[in-house]
């Protein structure tokens, strides 16, 4: 018995420690509460801002740090998937600690707007700096940087003269030569949404089906894998967001790939498909003026070039010069279709891709 008691002493201690654990939990709670932004916000409402973001931490933090440095306003943030953040904001209701939501897709921004979680931002600076098709018609959300989804091809096996449009990727010429990323990625969903808005649903489905018929391998899980598949010879061309190309270019010497800007001469679906990372001020923000000032700052000058440049994207503000490496890929006309419609069309696009057998 003595031995058994001795052996179990660790666990006895654990059980005995349970009340203590309760105390620790309480302490943890209250401790965190003290550093809680809303606590600070109440005390000092001009000095702090809370951002929920589906853009990754390492892509937003540099900008937040710069803002703190220039204005003294400290930014607290939580990152998660956009859909989760939107539900969270809805659940938190009028007591939400958040002031601003940043996501990386016009569809989710539009969806968030449709859920009534944003408020319109009335700002001349924003109207001046951000072209109309890159923000919500009522300024419920504002684009911050542009991401272009374009054709990438093997410089060894593809003559760019044979390339023309997204639609033409379905030509029989590319049978067994095309690579696509999974249809689960929002970038492809918004691209197909653009096709629907340009060609109508039936024609768009025919196009997507012709892509699927041309696939060399199963859809890849990300854009980088897609480009690696082209380099390895599994396929000859595909669709990527341009910044993934930039990243690979910085990693691999003499990349045997190049970007092609499609739909430059098309009358329908004119221009390269673009999407935005963007932001909106929350309806229940306790710091509306501060939030507005922050977004105004984001679409101007240094912040614009850093916000876009840190991920090799394009500034939404046409007055801001593009990062030199990005500029070296050539200039293009972007699609002028208003992005506000994306959220209505994206679910249709997802369903269409399901029907077309695009996994």
């Amino acid at each position: 018995m003595k031995v058994i008691l001795f052996k179990s002493s660790l666990f006895k201690r654990v059980v005995q420690a349970l009340p203590l654990v309760g105390v620790i939990v309480l302490m943890a709670c209250s401790d965190v509460d003290k550093t809680e932004p809303n606590a600070e916000v109440k005390a000092n409402s001009n000095q702090s801002l809370v951002v929920y973001s589906s853009r990754s931490e390492h892509l937003i933090k540099p900008v937040f740090d710069l803002y703190a440095e220039q204005t003294g306003v400290k930014i607290k943030y939580a990152t998660d998937k956009a859909g989760v953040l939107i539900e969270r904001i809805k659940a938190e209701g009028e007591h939400t600690p958040a002031d601003v939501l940043i996501t990386v897709d016009a569809g989710t921004l539009g969806y968030a707007a449709s859920q009534g979680i944003f408020q319109a931002v009335d700002s001349d600076i924003i109207l001046r700096n951000v072209p109309a098709h890159l923000r919500d018609a009522n300024n419920l959300w504002i684009g911050l940087s542009l991401r272009a989804r374009t054709i990438v091809y093997s410089t060894e096996r593809v003559n760019p003269k044979q390339l023309s449009s997204y639609k033409a990727l379905g030509d029989s010429r590319w049978h067994g030569k095309l690579c696509l990323r999974t249809s689960k990625k929002v970038y492809n969903q918004s691209l197909v949404a653009m096709l629907i808005s340009a060609y109508g649903e039936n024609k768009a489905q025919t196009i997507v089906e012709s892509w699927v018929a041309n696939l060399a391998i199963d859809p890849t899980v990300n854009d980088t894998q897609l480009m690696e598949a082209i380099i390895a010879g599994q396929c000859d061309l595909g669709l990527v967001n341009s910044y993934y190309f930039g990243r690979l270019q910085n990693k691999v010497d003499d990349l045997p790939l190049a970007l092609f800007w499609p739909n430059q001469t098309e009358s329908v679906a004119s221009g390269v498909h673009i999407n935005v990372a963007g932001a909106g001020v929350l309806k229940y923000s306790k710091n509306v003026d501060q939030a507005k000032a922050f977004i105004e700052w984001l679409v101007s000058d240094d912040a614009q070039s850093i916000f876009a440049g840190v991920n090799q994207e394009y500034p939404v503000n046409p007055a801001i010069p593009v990062d030199p490496q990005v500029a070296s890929w050539g200039s293009f006309n972007d699609s002028k279709l208003p992005l506000s419609n994306a959220y209505k069309l994206q679910p249709a696009a997802v369903k269409l891709m399901d029907r077309a057998g695009y996994k």
Partner: protein, 534 residues
Amino acid sequence: MPSRSSLIWSVFLVVMALPTVLALSGVLSAWFQPDFKTLSHLSNYVLPSAIKNTLLLVLGVSVMTAIIGVSLAWLTAVCDFPLRRFFVWALILPMAVPGYVIAFAFVGIFEFTGPVQTGLRELFGNSSWFPSIYSYGGVVMALSLVLYPYVYLLVRNAFQTQGRRSLEVGQSLGLSVRASFFRVSLPMARPWIVGGLLLVIMETLADFGTVATFNYDTLTAAIYKSWFSLYSVSAALQVASVLLIFVVIVIVIERYSRRAQQYAQQRNASLNTQRISLIGHHRWLACAACATVFTMAFLLPCAQLIFWAWPNVAVELNSSFWSYVWGSVSLAILAVLVIVGLALLMAFTARTQNSLFTRTAVRVSTLGYALPGTVLAIGLFAPMATVDEVLYNLGAPSHVLQGTMFVMILAYSVRFMAVAYAPLESNFLRITPSIDAVARSLGVSGIRMLRLVHMPIIRRGLLTAMVLVCVDVIKELPITLMTRPFGFNTLAVRVFELSSEGLWERAAIPAIAIVLVGIVPVMILIKRSDNDAH
């Protein structure tokens, strides 16, 4: 007196089940406003293959983890062969590797552009015969290799405590060693095998990270598609309830199949005597089997991670990196204490107050493991917000609960109660009811009985529970992401931030750290169980 104490225990069970009931009713309430448009699309184009894939995946992973887990447990617990002592603990290590990490490591190694196929092409000029890693086989392999330790740990525990006794029984009946294994030892280990498999099945059903890396569409993928792409939270929750039905079916089958069986066993089975010494080539076969599993499940993925991590160490290993480590560690410790403590009390209650009510309450409290973390977290978020609102109206500051560790730990408890409960339950089953009776006749009852009588017997199960919860919490992602306080980060969160941008090479560094941190509790488990038996 008994009625008062049983009332207290009943209240305890209800409180325990409450958060899960809240989360589940959040899921089920979606049926009050069903989104038929989305559902009809899903049922035409998505669900048929998703359900088929899910069933096949559960089947494949269950079979593989049962085979790997049980056979390795038997070899290391009962037989003797070269390097056995090393494999006893080494074979637990893959548990520290998150599914989403082994998935991206395997994709890196085995895909067309990876080193294996590239090497094959250089040697033979062609690698097209090599099976694609983006396949059913690939997913089953990845998931089985990180999940088999659940079966291995629990079943090894059973074989160890059966000792040679079960074999001796078989042999005294004239059975060969092999026949004794299949007819005595294996059936005797059934609660442990089933308990382990139940965890594996629930983990498989809830998995998203692993299957997404292989672009293998399961029900969780359908949930995410409804929610994030079709913007229908309602349809997402309806699909989640289909997932719940699966789980309930599995649990009912499991309960039904072992009704009226008892596994009580005499204590003091001699543990560390008389292993079966394998002879001749059997020794090396046993050794090779262990080595193969260990290499595939641990060495290989770790090697790939290190290969990726090496050039990026300088970028990632900055001061904030250590805050991620600290976040993971502190969270795991807190979660282990709370969850295992509660699970222990629950298992004890279920034993002393055995009734339909108790059994149901316990089942409900352990259902959360099968829900994808995101769904569970969102299910809890709304009630928490409501409670906060009520408190606020009563004069409390806003967000007393939300954004605190309390909500995180609560959500973890709902999710991981099953993990802590399974090893405790199967250990409690082994204590004969007569022991309780004796204790009571000596005036020892209630918590004192738990402490003085049960704890010494179930301590191995307790340790297993602690390690399982600890490792699971370190690996956990969706709940952590959603409920963490501002500025609080863990290693898993860092992996998510980097991998969602496709930066696998940099994500490899926090991934390695997850594995390293996860190894610590595993080592403690081994050290402690080494003290009484090998």
